[in-house]
């Protein structure tokens, strides 16, 4: 039976377990490639920390498993037994802030009980020791000294259901992926706390920057007119960047372009054009004298690159996130729905945290988030609003007394200002005079006395859009305004596991008696899932959803976008839902009352 079948059964038995990976050596002590010599207690524990032949350490993955009930047959024949020591599991979900940044990232806190253990599966040489592990200390206090290098290790949290006879079937479980951030304990009560974060932690500025900080320095003082000089580049930072086509460097506040680099090894001789920046910048930089040992920082130019390619570079090359976590074909689908022209340009002249750069990109109608259930960094946009799940109703889906509705006044805007056309890449990003142009989208009606009677301004400074990208700027500000021009509903509710298909970033339709129209009916409206939290308490599982209305608090339709369709499309009333969700239809001949137009339940399109 599969998870989707089990979750709908009455009498299901929810359980959870955690898999935690560690790096262990695949070799056997003193044999084959391992040249260590010793016996008995002096042998290693197949960990790098205890390795006696580090040059030949052959890493392989050792997985530990911890469950909240005894579950047989989780592990393989050569694995460590599954410890039934999972005392608690607390999941804090990803929380979206569409087009307003990266949002809140998901974390997971795991509490495990410590215990004595024979080290079966952990210590390959336990029978050679002069002692019995079970008689010495506890598992965690010793394991962490054997395997102290655990940060960044992958953790998989699996939740699901046992079969009716209590047996385990992997098909009945879903997986969320995290990475170890810290391990605390064991404490005096014998508990170990493991804090895990999602993969975007690798983009934090203390972990990843673009470009990386250069170790290259000037070999000697240079004048403000010198066009050739030597650079000591012990790590080949400048050379590697130049070889990769990145020709700009920055010394102090001056940006130069390398026209030639010679030398077989450091120091290299650079031939440069002084005080130059890409032509998209309308400002200038000034040639200056620079002192010996001044840092020569390679710059990174994103030159009219699709925004998804930029994000991929930042996360993959910049933050080192494996390509398997970055579903670029899914990202392309998002791009293809109205973001085809989102090609951005920027020269990054100093090391900037990858997270900060992703935050900046996330202010352009796009956002990225870690989907812990898919184990992918997903991309979405505020114009991508196909309802995939629902309708969820009071009768068949929403758990009693779990609904709350709030009106989110804080996110509403009446004007969106975007500063673009950055004049020089070395000036401050939030300095208004560093931008050649501004575009303002205004909803004058919303500011009038019949509506909200106030201005609410959203300011965005974009280093990514040169002054010749005004068309895209217009799109971005208009779309942002369309999305946030009215107060939105924030809905919180709980669903049973049988209805847990919708996840963070999905759009759902919902009908609840707490949201009514003026006539007292409960319309089906579209909502974006901002966060999904699985809560397991006392043997029961529920899913807490936080939803944001796609439209306003009083009219849930929101703006409806569509591409220009192919000639093969049929009439609106007989066309498929996927096509109606993708392509724009200009009109509908009869909306059931003899008048032209869309049915009253459907919105007209904005063509993209």
């Amino acid at each position: 039976m599969a998870y989707d079948d089990q979750k709908g059964l009455t009498g299901r038995e929810p359980v959870a377990f955690v898999e935690m990976d560690f790096n262990a050596c695949s070799l056997t002590y003193g044999t084959g490639d391992c040249t260590a010599s010793g016996s008995g207690d002096s042998k290693c524990f197949n960990s790098y920390a205890t390795c006696q032949d580090k040059d030949n350490f052959a890493p392989t993955t050792k997985t530990l498993r911890f469950s909240n009930v005894r579950i047989d047959d989780l592990q393989g024949d050569s694995d460590v037994p599954t410890f039934p020591t999972l005392a608690s599991l607390s999941l804090s979900p990803t929380s979206l802030t569409p087009s307003q940044g990266l949002g809140i990232r998901s974390t997971c806190n795991i509490t495990l009980e410590d215990h004595p253990f024979s080290m079966v599966g952990v210590d390959q040489y336990r029978e050679d020791r002069t002692y019995n592990h079970a008689d010495r200390g506890s598992f965690w206090s010793r394991f962490l000294t054997m395997f102290p290098y655990y940060t960044q290790n992958e953790v998989r949290v699996k939740t699901g259901f046992l079969e009716e006879d209590g047996t385990y079937d992997s098909a009945n479980f879903i997986t969320r992926t995290y990475f170890i951030d810290s391990i605390k304990g064991p404490d005096p009560k014998g508990r170990v706390q493991i804090k895990c974060k999602d993969i975007l932690r690798f983009a934090d500025k203390e972990k990843a920057t673009v470009p990386v900080l250069s170790q290259a320095t000037l070999d000697s003082d240079i004048t403000d007119s010198a066009t050739s000089f030597d650079v000591v580049d012990p790590n080949d930072d400048v050379k590697d960047a130049y070889d990769a086509g990145q020709t700009y460097i920055r010394i102090d506040d001056e940006v130069m372009e390398i026209t030639n680099l010679t030398g077989a090894s450091s120091p290299y001789t650079l031939t440069v054009t002084r005080a130059t920046i890409p032509v998209v910048y309308s400002g200038s930089v000034v040639a200056e004298e620079h002192d010996e040992d001044s840092t020569v920082q390679q710059c990174h130019l994103f030159d009219n690159q699709p925004v998804d390619d930029i994000a991929y570079y930042l996360l993959n090359t910049g933050a080192g996130i494996d390509a398997s976590y970055l579903p670029t074909s899914d990202w392309q689908d998002v791009i293809n729905f109205g973001l085809q022209n989102y090609a951005f340009t920027s020269l990054i002249t100093e090391p900037v945290g990858v997270k900060d750069l992703m935050e900046e990109l996330s202010h352009h109608n796009i956002y990225w988030f870690w989907n812990e259930r898919e184990g992918k960094v997903q991309m979405s946009s505020i114009i991508n609003k196909v309802n995939t799940f629902g309708p969820f109703t009071d009768e068949g889906h929403i758990i009693a007394d779990s609904v709350s509705v709030a009106r989110d006044e804080s996110a509403r805007v009446s004007q969106v200002w975007m500063g673009f056309g950055q004049r020089t890449p070395v000036a401050e990003l939030d300095e208004p005079t560093n931008y050649s142009s501004y575009y303002i989208s205004v909803d004058a009606d919303a500011e009038g006395s019949n509506e909200y009677d106030q201005r609410k301004i959203r300011r965005i400074y974009s280093r990514w859009l040169p002054v010749n990208k005004r068309t895209i700027v217009t799109e971005i500000t208009n779309r942002y305004l369309n999305y946030y021009k009215d107060t939105k509903n924030l809905v919180s509710l709980k669903l049973d596991p049988k209805d847990d298909d919708a996840w963070t970033g999905d759009n759902i339709s919902l009908s609840t008696r707490l949201i009514q129209d003026p006539n007292g009916t409960t319309p089906e409206r579209s909502y974006l899932v901002l966060e999904t939290n699985e809560i397991t308490q006392a043997g029961n599982t529920t899913y807490q959803y936080k939803l944001q209305s796609v439209g306003s608090s009083f009219d849930g339709s929101g703006s409806r976008y569509g591409l220009i369709g192919p000639n093969t499309l049929t009439d609106y009333d007989v066309e498929s839902d996927p096509n109606k969700n993708t392509y724009a239809f200009v009109a509908y001949d009869d909306r059931s009352d003899g008048s032209e137009g869309f049915p009253t339940t459907d919105s007209p399109y904005l063509i993209i």
Partner: protein, 254 residues
Amino acid sequence: MIYPKFLYSTLLRDITPTFSGTTLSGKPPANATDLLDWSYFTADTGNLDFNMTEDTDIDAVAIYVASGSGTNSIELQYESSPSTYTSLKTFSAPTGTLDIEEFTGVTVLSGRNIRFVITATTTIDIRQLMVGEILTAEQGQWVSASPPAFNSGVKVTNNISQNGSVLGRSIKRLERMGKIQLDWLTDSWVRSDWEPFSAHFARHPFFYQWDPTGHPTDVAFAFAERIDAPKHSENGYLSVTIPIRMLVADSESI
């Protein structure tokens, strides 16, 4: 009055066994004697030998075997004379089994083996094996004794919709908790029999047969929740109470 029995021993745990069948590195023979229910020895057909380092008296054997399939058996033998083995007890078709069996006491001499002859259609997962001398309580238990093999409590939570429909129903098996309470114990029995047992259950689990006569197959793999010293009750007699948690045969686990 019901006189409970306890089998507790670290005899096998303290000996490194040899197995003539296939040994899996994550499920080795040592898992069958590590006094943990969640690690198990996956055995195919073979002899599991424990070589005694001193003369050892035994009169009972307990097994705790995970649910499985196939026609399997576990037979306890001892080396009655060099290379000659005498059968003491055979568990036929053990699957999901937790059992204590007594036999006429024997002494296994130093240097000779206690042997489990394992016959498996494919493999059999053995949670625990224990051999030793069984302890019978000096007095019986009262009505507060908790038969372990009754169905455990189950906590049920219904997810109800706003309009009263049952959306889903989750269950959680509750732990089997109970207590061993013995009264009117003589000082000499407590000192000679109870004290060694309490030294064991302070650290390790044990096999518990609450009613050997009326319910001989009703056996638990039990461990103490708390250790209290024996207390004087009346007229020089002592009483002991230990709260316990019990694991039962897989086949009876709910």
